[in-house]
């Protein structure tokens, strides 16, 4: 019988976050981080953007991007702190901060996406 470990679940979330962020973030970042602010492209009108955001599918996709991506960060950041800084003795604290942060962030994402007018 396989013992219950949180690791497989965390790794699945890490991987899922890795994939969706790799698929969606480059283009979103190019558009909203550089192209619109620098005026390379005309940003979408407020009405259009609101309409897009109001679509439940958009909000579902965005949640599907935000939540796993935050867990991707939490998982990787935790290991980077272990390996890069050799502070494994702070194991529990780091885990609480990282995964706790991801949970809080996911809750915030859910709240914000739910409350799009």
């Amino acid at each position: 019988m396989i013992k219950r470990h949180p690791e497989p679940l965390l790794w699945m979330l890490f991987s899922a976050g890795g994939v969706v962020s790799a698929l969606l973030m480059p283009i979103l970042l190019v558009l909203f981080g550089l192209a619109f602010p620098l005026g390379w492209l005309q940003p979408p009108s407020y009405e259009h953007l609101l309409a897009v955001l109001r679509n439940p599918l958009t909000r579902l996709v965005l949640f599907g991007l935000c939540m796993p991506s935050l867990f991707h960060w939490a998982h990787r950041f935790r290991h980077t702190l272990y390996d890069g800084l050799q502070i494994k003795h702070l194991n529990e604290v780091i885990a609480v901060i990282c995964y706790g942060g991801a949970i809080v962030g996911s809750a915030a994402a859910a709240y914000l996406l739910w409350h799009v007018p």
Binding site: S15, G17, G18, V19, S21, A22, L23, L24, M25, P26, I27, L28, L29, V30, L31, F32, G33, L34, F36, P37, L38, L41, P43, P44, Y46, H48, L49, L50, V52, L53, T58, L62, L65, C66, S69, L70, H72, W73, H75, R76, F77, H79, T80, D83, G84, L85, Q86, G105, A108, A109, L112, L113, H115, V116, P117
Partner: protein, 138 residues
Amino acid sequence: MGQRHAYTEYHPRWLRRPVSTYWWLQKRSYFAFILREASCIFVAWFVVYLLMLVRAVSEGEMSYRQFLSWSASPLILLVNLVSLLFIVLHAITFFEAAPRAMVVHVGGRRVPNGFVGAAHYLGLLAASVIVVWILLGA
């Protein structure tokens, strides 16, 4: 096992060399690894940035305008430029690693890793086209 035997435990002092805290600076490939790992910070940053955009849009047109002008400030531009570099690094390394975890069989034959990798890039292209079409095209 020899270990069950007491004599193999007997030995003069062995030399143990602990790993330096800065091991990841000692080799180019280790440094590339740590950069890849650091990309997760920018993934998290972009989630925050995206949620700020969502909140701004939810709060009304004024907030949206403010968000756009804030995003054009030099500091935020710089942060996003760096983020983009790291996220591209993340995408490339993740697409490189993914086929090594997934061994896909089609009709009893193993699909070459190159195909699986290429499929990921096609996915990236498709996702990008759809995003652009939704935001700008329709």
